[in-house]
Amino acid sequence: MILWYTVVQIVVAVLAGLLAVAFGLAKRPPSDLTMAGAALLGVLLLAQIVMAIVAPLTGNDPTGNPYEFWAYLISAFILPPVAILWALLERSRWSTVVVGVACLAVAVMLYRMHVIWTVQLA
């Protein structure tokens, strides 16, 4: 992983997450804005997948367990599309909250990925 890109992703995930949770609690059904946050996060994660494949070839290897890293990355990548699909099917305020919770979960997963990639565990 590349530190600045990780930071960008986490910032987007947290902002999109807080925005959607706030909008949901303010009784708004899912909107273009809240879903765009999750969609942007999905695109960033897709790029992260490409980077995680390429990085080891350039000598930037994960220091922790690579399988664990990939388990997190794939899980995180699945979340935004599922949340958006959910929001499209169920047009209630709580779907907006669900989108936000998913984004915040991705933020936590990104932090875990960062730790696995950079911190020597074993």
Partner: protein
């Protein structure tokens, strides 16, 4: 597709409103636990068989609980109570054991330190789940079961 008005579709399912957020949290937890246990068991099971078996058990219980929350009928309602009660019991037991007897769990599970590795979500969510179940008995929702 005609006859399904929004009212009738929402009546068919047990869960709606804020309960959906609970389901989403359970789904995410199930995903995280499954990913973690798969990796742990595939890469070094022999290092901490008890901890890793517990991780796998956690994954199964969270998946079951997620399904039980969504699925209609009294049977699933009971399964939801059992799985969620089981989670609370285990997060408290394993959480305590992981502090008292750290040797027992050389590697962390979802439930270690009361779910501290998962922002204590595994500790909070069963309580919310039970509150939700207690307030939404199958009888009070007019479904077909």
């Amino acid at each position: 597709m005609t006859a399904t008005s929004p009212a009738s579709t929402s009546r068919r399912r047990r869960i709606s409103g804020i309960g959906l957020v609970l389901v989403a949290v359970y789904g995410i937890l199930a995903l995280a636990a499954t990913g973690r246990s798969t990796v742990q068991i595939l890469s070094d099971y022999s290092e901490a068989p008890l901890a890793y078996s517990l991780s796998a058990l956690a994954a199964v219980v969270y998946i079951l609980a997620t399904v039980a929350l969504v699925a209609p009928g009294r049977g699933w309602y009971r399964v939801a109570w059992i799985t969620i009660g089981f989670e609370l019991l285990f997060v408290l037991t394993v959480g305590t054991l992981s502090i008292v007897d750290a040797e027992l769990f050389p590697r962390d599970t979802v439930w270690s330190y009361y779910g501290g590795g998962y922002l204590f979500v595994p500790l909070v969510v069963p309580v919310l789940g039970m509150l939700w179940l207690a307030r939404h008995r199958p009888g009070t929702v007019r479904d077909a079961s």
